[in-house]
């Protein structure tokens, strides 16, 4: 039986690997996709630092197991910031394409 921890860890690793592959592309569109994928991987990673538990409430109710509420609050902040900054990155990439006439990350077609 695969443990929950192994499943989450390998999932985060796979998404992060895809993100890095995309980030190393030469065009801004895959790079931006890579940035948002990396954001997802990081968010799940933060979430998992509170330890993985099933059916545990994030609030003290006397005895019984509880989930750590802090990573949940952190991940909320990280999601909001990540969403806004990726939006900004798209806008700047689009303007760069308009200015340079190329969507290459170097601002010009390679080999010119």
């Amino acid at each position: 039986m695969i443990s929950l921890e192994f499943l989450v860890a390998s999932g985060v690793g796979w998404v992060a690997a895809c993100a890095i592959w995309l980030l190393l592309r030469g065009r801004t569109f895959p790079v931006v996709l890579g940035l948002s994928l990396l954001g997802y991987a990081v968010n799940v990673f933060i979430f998992a630092t509170g330890r993985l538990s099933l059916g545990a409430p994030p609030i003290l109710l006397g005895a019984g197991s509880v989930a750590d509420p802090l990573p949940q609050a952190l991940v909320l902040t990280a999601i909001v910031i990540g969403f806004a900054t990726v939006g900004l990155a798209i806008e700047i990439a689009a303007r760069s394409r308009d200015e340079a006439g190329s969507d290459h990350v170097d601002g010009e077609e390679p080999g010119r």
């Binding site: 980030l23 801004t28 790079v31 940035l35 990396l38 954001g39 990081v42 990673f45 933060i46 630092t49 330890r51 003290l60 197991s65 509880v66 989930a67 750590d68 509420p69 802090l70 990573p71 952190l74 902040t77 990280a78 910031i81 990540g82 806004a84 900054t85 990726v86 900004l88 990155a89 700047i92 990439a93 303007r95 760069s96 200015e99 340079a100 990350v105 170097d106 601002g107 010009e108």
Partner: protein, 508 residues
């Protein structure tokens, strides 16, 4: 009434200013500039009050929402934080005056973004919480993304895209590092973290060390430490000059973050994770200083040259930090304040020179003579002499303090040789700019007087540090000692009994 909220003012004032300026929008430039200037002056007043309070050795604590630490977020103003907040305001004021000479009209919302950047900078310096540090990093970075492309143009977007992408990747690494530290210690409050890091034994200490090194990569990236320095020169040279001058402060955020996290938290008392960084920092800083001055030597425009000098000066500061002693840190703080003021002034000065050279702008090639050769030439000479480190200028005093704190021949060689190479680079640039002129071409027009006054004022501040060297040195000495005194920090932030935060037992 304001007194108890003083530590929050450096963050709140720019925030209020930015909101007001967003609301003013495209109102008459006169009104927008006055509002922006008024808030920067208020911030300067708050920063002076903070330095006054902090210089007595008091740790000013501000609990947001009155939540007790480590449950709530705290702002902590010690000598270092107060000094950095004052430095931010001292650079911001002349830069704002310079920008109000016309650069602020080359795009929209310059002043609002300017205030957001100040908010992020001040927040990053006063925060006592690791995640909050990330949030303020994002505030200042988001403002910087837009400010970098202020004025638009192909060159700015060309370097804006890599700048944004690299910073977003660094932010992701920052989050991973923070999460790793949280998973191993269960806290993000810096004082609490310092206490718990010491209690973590093997094998969890390996997790702590990797988290600390991840954060070192992020802070090293911000401070343009080799091999993560290549984004800086072209981006700063492409940015509009007032923005570049303001960005000089951003590299210092990385230095202060290294001092706060790796110096204070992962210092001598960190048990199995003690002193993970100095072994990496010293060689990287030495290499960066060498690369920085050679980059300056090879630069083809004045702005590129200054951007490379910025890398070299931050690297010199980091060399002093990597000595990992109170004397080294004190020297680092003194040299950091001085080099920030002078390099920011150089960026403003480069624009004044470029504006008077016709089509050649700041390119290091023969062009029409500048209209005010005596004034601009002597300003550049003064700045150059100070950044090179010629006595009796404060750059000399700063480097002398670094050399006194170091007992390694390698540090002496790199610091002295980099000063020499800087001198060659600046002498070459100065002689081309002012002497290698084509007389037949038309002369440029004299500069805007407010811009000249702002640039000269910023430079004068940097040079005046030689006159007030003794009190400033006393202050930085005390700041370095305070930074190394983890117990006093812990007592001030957490009080005597520090409750546990974790709702579950540590992992078996």
């Amino acid at each position: 009434m304001i007194e108890p909220h003083l530590p929050a003012l450096p963050v709140l004032l720019p925030l209020v200013a930015a909101v007001v300026l967003l609301w003013l929008g495209d109102a008459a430039p006169r009104i927008v500039r006055l509002v922006s200037l008024a808030f920067v002056l208020l911030g300067l007043g708050a920063a002076l009050a903070l330095v006054d309070r902090a210089s007595s050795g008091e740790l000013l604590l501000y609990r947001l929402g009155a939540w007790p630490a480590p449950f709530g977020i705290v702002l902590v103003v010690d000598r270092l934080a107060a000094l950095m907040v004052l430095l931010v305001q001292l650079v911001a004021l002349p830069v704002l005056v310079h920008a109000s000479g016309g650069w602020d009209l080359r795009g929209r919302y310059f002043h609002a973004l300017f205030q957001f950047l100040l908010m992020g900078l001040c927040g990053a310096f006063v925060t006592g919480d690791l995640f909050n540090l990330f949030v303020f990093f994002e505030v200042l970075l988001t403002a910087s993304y837009v400010l970098l492309v202020h004025g638009h143009g192909r060159e700015r977007f060309r370097w804006g895209v890599p700048y944004v992408v690299l910073n977003l990747v660094a932010s992701a690494l920052f989050l991973i590092g923070v999460a790793v530290l949280y998973s191993a210690t269960g806290t993000l409050n810096l004082a609490d973290l310092a206490r718990r890091v010491a209690e973590v034994g093997e094998p969890d200490a390996a997790l702590l060390r990797s988290g600390a090194l991840l954060l070192f990569v992020v802070f090293g990236f911000k401070a343009a430490l080799a091999p993560l320095h290549l984004w800086l020169p072209a981006a700063y040279a492409a940015a509009s000059p007032p923005v570049a001058a303001l960005f000089v402060l951003m590299t210092k955020v990385g230095v202060v973050a290294i001092l706060r996290v790796h110096g204070a938290v992962f210092g001598d008392a960190a048990g199995a994770a003690a002193n993970v960084v100095p072994g990496w920092l010293m060689p990287l800083a030495l290499v960066t200083a060498a690369l920085g001055v050679f980059g300056a030597l090879a630069a083809h425009t004045l702005a590129h040259l200054i951007a490379w000098l910025n890398i070299a000066s931050v690297a010199t500061v980091l060399i002093a930090v990597s000595l990992w002693s109170a004397a080294g840190w004190s020297a680092a703080l003194y040299y950091m304040v001085h080099s920030t003021l002078v390099v920011a002034a150089l960026f403003l000065l480069a624009e004044l020179v470029a504006a008077q050279r016709g089509a050649a702008r700041g390119r290091l090639e023969p062009a029409s003579p500048v209209a005010q050769p005596a004034l601009l030439g002597s300003l550049l000479l003064l700045a150059a002499a100070s950044i090179v480190g010629l006595p009796p200028l404060p750059g000399f005093l700063g480097k002398l303090m670094i050399l006194q704190a170091a007992d390694s021949a390698l540090v002496w060689t790199v610091v002295l040789a980099s000063g020499f190479v800087t001198m060659i680079g600046l002498a070459r640039a100065g002689s081309i700019l002012f002497w290698s002129v084509r007389e037949e071409s038309e002369r440029g027009r004299a500069g805007h007087s407010a811009q000249l006054v702002a640039t000269a004022g910023l430079l004068a501040l940097g040079v005046a540090m030689a006159l007030a060297a003794a009190p400033i040195k006393d202050y930085t000495d005390a700041a370095a000692l305070q930074l190394r005194d983890g117990d006093a920090y812990l007592r001030a932030v957490l009080g005597r009994a520090a409750p546990s935060v974790r709702p579950y037992p540590p992992a078996p």
